[in-house]
């Protein structure tokens, strides 16, 4: 590890690796610091992605794919199962352990230097400007200097807060998640199943994402509003006892998804924040891999330019903010409002919507049609969604 780099990226998830790749590729001297001993592990993720999302950045590799997905099943609170085939979309359940690892190798190949067991514990300052980070690298305390710090530290998101950026998530916008990777179960192949309703996962959903024969990620996220009364683990254990009492559990993990607005100000002099840390996540689905890669890419490109022009001021870094605004901020804000509208639906509302969709023949069901019939069944949702589109 050198004493000085142009850019230090904190965190080796998809956001960090993409930022490191694009910044290094464009001429910057980049160092990526990851606190765990192993990039990509532990996996705190359901691992579902869309083909179109990932291939914006990298070509899909077979070793990343645990399962191809071409349909989904939505289960309503009364147990009505709705099968929705994908029209043009293809999805995957990834092996994120391999995927994240490979992304970091791609970053390294582009010229970034990567270190694990490197926990960033604070920022260092010179003349009142951020001038680097404090890191504990395999038990040794070091100061490393850099012109620009990129906070890709995921849900903890402390780097931004040290610099005064407001990354704290409101309780209601935080999903408390719990997941088991299990075998010895019957699982519908090439299909993802999502359960909604108070019983399964209030303010969120429960998922079954298959990973090969008789193996799946089974997990759920519940809104912080509800986790106050009953924990995510309790909800998942009840479901497992009910539905899969004989399952073997190979991995247990918990985590959090910030299903919030993208943070207003993800940059300041000498610092920018990307990925989960900046709440770049789809607020309806909690899908954050693709948005993390996107903000990593856009952030990395602007970071390299800032180094070239020797201008790491907030006003220059605002170009990154403009780039993400053009790309996904508006869509994520809309999705946030849809999330809010959905969260107001009662179990009876959802059952009513499900029976309406159930009357559409399977071969004619598309996600769009499903959405439209939800509107017809629940006019107040139409109003909410119209409000969303009208920007009110």
């Amino acid at each position: 590890m050198k004493h000085k780099y142009d850019i230090i990226v904190v965190g080796g998830g998809p956001a960090g690796s993409m930022a490191a790749k694009y910044a290094a590729e464009n001429g910057a001297d980049v160092c990526l610091l990851e606190k765990t001993r192993d990039i990509g592990y532990p996996v705190r993720c359901g691992e579902a992605v869309g083909h179109a999302g990932i291939t914006q950045f990298v070509e899909m590799k077979d070793t990343w794919i645990a399962e191809k997905i071409n349909s989904c099943t939505l289960v309503s609170p009364d147990g009505t199962k709705l099968d929705v085939p994908f029209a043009n979309e293809t999805g995957y359940i990834l092996n994120r352990r391999i995927f994240d690892y490979d992304l970091s190798r791609i970053a390294s190949k582009a010229g970034a230097q990567i270190f694990t067991k490197a926990h960033v514990t604070g920022l260092i300052y010179r003349n009142n400007r951020i001038s680097g980070v404090k890191v504990n690298h395999i038990g040794e305390e070091k100061n490393i200097e850099a012109k620009l710090i990129i906070g890709a530290d995921g849900v903890d998101s402390r780097v931004g807060r040290w610099a005064g950026l407001k990354t704290t998530v409101k309780l209601r916008d935080m999903e408390a998640c719990m997941q088991y990777s299990v075998s010895n179960i019957d699982v519908k192949r090439n299909n993802m199943t999502m359960f909604v309703g108070q019983n399964y996962a209030p303010g969120g959903y429960l998922w079954i994402f298959p990973k090969g024969e008789d193996f799946a990620n089974i997990g759920l996220g519940i809104s912080g509003t509800y986790s106050k009364q009953k924990s995510a683990k309790k909800y998942l254990d009840e479901f497992m006892d009910r539905e899969y009492p004989n399952a073997s559990i190979h991995t247990s993990m918990c985590g959090g998804c910030p299903v919030a607005y993208p943070i207003k100000k993800p940059v300041a002099d000498n610092i920018m924040i990307i990925g989960d840390a900046a709440h770049h996540i789809n607020p309806v689905t909690g899908g954050g891999i693709t948005p993390a890669m996107k903000s990593g890419m856009l952030g990395g490109l602007v970071a390299a330019e800032a180094i070239k022009k020797n201008n790491v001021s907030e006003s220059f870094l605002n170009k990154y903010v403009k780039d993400i605004d053009r790309d996904f901020t508006k869509r994520h804000k809309t999705l946030y409002k849809i999330k809010e509208a959905i969260s107001k639906l009662s179990d009876d509302d959802i059952n009513g919507i499900a029976s309406k969709i159930d009357s559409i023949p399977v071969e004619k069901r598309t996600l769009q049609k499903v959405f439209m019939s939800s509107m017809i069944k629940k006019p107040s949702l139409v109003i909410d969604v119209l409000r969303v589109f009208a920007g009110i």
Partner: protein, 59 residues
């Protein structure tokens, strides 16, 4: 005061994300709460997916 139930934490960082005082430090396999800056808002207790944190009266 926030008490950490020993050997239970999964070090996922979810509590740190809602902490208004940025006083939870989650390491690879350790969690440290800076009790001096903590304001006992209990948000971390509410969000923890596996009930690792407890709010206890200071004795």
């Amino acid at each position: 005061m926030i008490k950490i139930i020993e050997n239970k934490c999964d070090y996922c960082g979810t509590c740190a994300s809602v902490c208004p005082k940025n006083c939870i430090n989650v390491k690879e396999d350790d969690i440290i709460i800076d009790h001096k800056s903590c304001i006992d808002c209990d948000l971390c207790v509410y969000i923890c997916p596996i009930e690792v944190l407890e709010s206890v009266n200071e004795a």
